[in-house]
């Protein structure tokens, strides 16, 4: 195991010696190309998957968030345990629903939760659980997780510790049959730009940051302990290949039904996934709407800018004419750069919102592709079944 960073909340693993070298290392990497990720893959324990699934679906549709603990080993980030963040009491402050969901989404970087996390990790350490924070998780509905809150949370974690990851559990899609769990990290390039906090056209051109470079997905693998493997073999499995005992009557069969195996699951053979497609389309429309708002903002800025510029040109022309007259009248000239004080150019709106929106749209349309592939293959199967040649 490489030395875990000392900046981990509540972690006391790092020795004082390892700290300076680590800082230098991180500094170097920041200035390098975005290719060198601190880990190549993410490995997640079965326990973590179940805990996340449970927590996210129990709070649905409110966003659920929690903290991940684990360690990194030979380029693989192992996530071995997790715990939920306390929910924010929405009933006490009867705020608007929007505020409540915003609060829930911002939970991972709320002050009280940082303290909670530190305390929890300290307690987990006593029972031999890996006591390093390695990121956080959040729930999502149909892939709508690319938001400012997500970026801010992940930035908050990643700026202190490079080896942190954000897991996104898609509650709606997971209920359809296949687990939708993804691991993301902000790219180093984006981290640099975000640190400067400037998302103007000019700065984006300089850094060559596009919306594709915001998030990087990491391959996820599930890992079971030996004990768990033993347990899993007791759960319903696919029918054995050996000849079963023949039933004597119909009620025998009905009473002793074969339980559907967990793997491979037959749930995803369900034919009705159209609602998902519909919902994704709605979300896509929403994205277009926000794209449009963003665009209007920008056009407003442009008009403002143009107006100011015309004013300046006019003022300059006037001043020039005045000066020309003054030269003729042999009077001292008036300064010509006073316009910088008199007029103020509007500031350019941040490009970040637009970029996130673009990323979100990309996410949705990929999702639609996935659904389409699924549903069309199912439909062809149904047709072949109902219309034998």
């Amino acid at each position: 195991m490489s030395t875990q960073s000392g900046v981990n909340l509540g972690s006391t693993v790092a020795t004082p010696l390892s700290r300076p070298s680590r800082t230098v290392f991180e500094f170097d990497k920041m200035s390098e190309a975005p290719k060198d990720a601190p880990f190549q893959a993410v490995q997640i324990d079965a326990l973590v998957i179940l805990k996340i699934a449970r927590h996210c679906s129990s709070t649905f549709p409110t966003v659920a968030t929690g903290s991940l603990v684990g360690m990194d080993q030979n380029g693989t980030l192992e996530i071995t345990n997790t715990f939920a963040f306390p929910t924010i009491d929405t009933s006490a402050a009867d705020s608007h629903q929007n505020d409540a969901s915003n609060l829930a989404a911002a939970a991972p970087r709320a002050k009280s939760n940082i303290a909670y996390q530190a305390e929890m990790i300290r307690h987990l350490k006593e029972v031999n659980v890996d006591a390093n924070n390695v990121g956080w998780y959040t729930s999502a509905t149909m892939g709508n997780f690319v938001t400012m809150a997500f970026i801010e949370n992940q930035y908050f974690y990643q700026k202190d510790n490079d080896k942190t990851v954000a897991l996104v559990y898609d509650t709606s899609r997971s209920s359809q049959g296949t687990l939708a769990l993804k691991a993301y990290r902000l790219t180093n390039l984006f981290m640099n730009v975000y640190k400067e906090g400037k998302f103007t056209t000019e700065s984006l051109q300089k850094s060559k940051l596009s919306f594709r470079d915001i998030l990087q997905e990491y391959p996820l693998a599930v890992h079971n302990s030996h004990l768990l493997t033993s347990f899993l073999h007791q759960l319903p499995a696919p029918p054995a290949a050996t000849e079963p005992k023949e039933p004597t009557s119909l009620s025998d069969l009905n009473n002793d039904r074969i339980k559907a195996p967990l793997y491979p699951s037959i749930d995803n053979l369900d034919l009705s996934i159209d609602p998902f497609l519909e919902k994704t389309c709605d979300l896509l429309l929403e994205s277009i709407e926000s794209h449009y708002v963003d665009l209007n903002n920008f056009q407003f800025y442009q008009r403002q800018l143009a107006r100011e510029q015309t004013k300046i040109t006019q003022w300059q022309a006037k001043r020039k004419a005045e000066n020309a007259q003054r030269t003729l009248a042999k009077q001292p000239l008036l300064p010509e750069d006073e316009w910088q004080r008199l007029f103020k150019l509007p500031t350019e709106p941040s490009r970040l919102e637009g970029m996130l929106n673009a990323k979100q749209v990309e996410q949705y349309s990929k999702q639609v592709d996935g659904f389409t592939a699924n549903i069309s293959s199912k439909m062809f199967a149904v047709r072949e079944n109902l219309l034998p040649q």
Binding site: I49, S225, L262, L269
Partner: protein
């Protein structure tokens, strides 16, 4: 479910403690356990301290979950480990730790409460009774509800068995009351909802792999796997039916009846109707996919246009118009006029209002 004990005859439920006035309900108690709790316990068992001198290798922890209003149904939702040491003649449980951890856990899930405790061996001894009485006590435990004791065997090479108990006080004598109680087994079952099914599937996919590790796959891959599995099962059935027809296999009335009733569920439909519906539907689906990708392309393009071409304004502009013209014939080019900063973003404007209507 293997761990479920469904055929369980529950004759009488012991009354918790002596306070009969509080105990109005004598209905049997049913315990439901969610898989994440079991996984948590197994994880804890793997992470136990291995010490030379300690007698027992079992670990203990607390169970947290919900209780139905009348107290007859209990759902174990999660659990947390408690450090403890056991020696020849004494047992130490970190009570302070248990208190703090419970507060932390309840903070995150306020609707749950302490239910009882678990351990990882089936042995019930006087230490068990001591801990049980601690968890059932009024000030530190679950009183007036009975404390649940869950034992899970974690012996290597054997099946993992779960048992569930509640307790009743037994009076041996006053001095030994604290360390004696009567454990009574209660029925329990593993409960997994739809939410965990997909998670469990992913976990189970690593079951037969030597490295105990499996990558999470995409929707379409898992669909393919499910279809293959189903086709395999269908083949097996039709092979059996063919065997019966060829008089190779002994026919079986019950199986055939079952198959008949299953097959009669298949809908009778008009071929042309199906064809029509199918075509309609597939067109819709493909249309949605097409539109989604068009939108993606346009947003992508608009992002590129927003940042791409400030440097050499004149040249780039021409190129952009050409590019756009190439993609869609019906585009008018960027508006004329020499507004320096605004120029490169103008071309986006005419096409935007089209998108929401698509």
């Amino acid at each position: 479910m293997a761990a479920a004990t469904e055929r369980f005859l529950h004759l009488a439920r012991p009354l918790a403690h002596t306070n009969i006035g509080l105990q109005t309900n004598i209905a049997p108690l049913t315990v439901q356990i969610q898989p994440q709790a079991v996984l948590s316990i197994l994880d804890h068992a793997v992470r136990r301290d291995v010490r030379e001198n300690s007698q027992s290798t079992r670990v203990i922890g607390a169970l947290v979950g919900t209780r139905s209003e009348d107290g007859t149904e209990v759902e174990v939702r999660s659990c947390f480990a408690i450090p403890h040491t056991e020696e020849e003649d004494q047992v130490e449980v970190d009570v302070e730790y248990q208190k703090n951890m419970l507060a932390l856990v309840l903070k995150a899930s306020p609707r749950e409460s302490l239910l009882g405790w678990y351990t990882t061996s089936h042995e019930l001894n006087s230490f068990s009774a001591l801990i049980q009485n601690f968890f059932a006590a009024p000030d530190t435990g679950t009183f007036p509800h009975p404390a649940i004791h869950l034992t899970i065997s974690t012996e290597p090479g054997k099946d993992i068995e779960t048992r569930c108990y509640i307790s009743a006080p037994v009076a041996v004598n006053a001095e030994r009351a604290a360390e004696s109680c009567l454990f009574i087994q209660v029925p329990h079952k593993m409960l997994y909802g739809d939410a965990e099914k997909s998670a469990l599937e992913a976990v189970a996919s690593a079951r037969d792999v030597e490295s105990r590790t499996a990558p999470l796959v995409s929707d379409i891959e898992s669909l393919g796997r499910s279809i293959e599995q189903t086709i395999g099962l269908l083949d097996r059935v039709s092979e059996w039916v063919n065997g019966v027809l060829d008089e190779d296999v002994e026919p079986n009335n019950a199986l055939a009846q079952y198959l008949m009733s299953a097959l009669s569920l298949a809908p009778k439909v008009d071929a042309s109707q199906i064809e029509h519906d199918f075509n309609n539907h597939i067109q819709d689906v493909l249309m949605v996919s097409y539109l989604a990708n068009t939108i993606r392309t346009q947003i992508d393009l608009s992002q590129r246009l927003a940042t791409a071409n400030l440097v050499s304004n004149e040249k780039e502009e021409g190129k952009n118009d050409g590019e756009k013209g190439g993609q869609r014939g019906n585009k008018r080019g960027g508006r004329g006029g020499g507004r320096g900063g605004g120029q490169q973003r103008e071309p986006r404007e005419p096409r935007e209002p089209r998108e929401p209507t698509e």
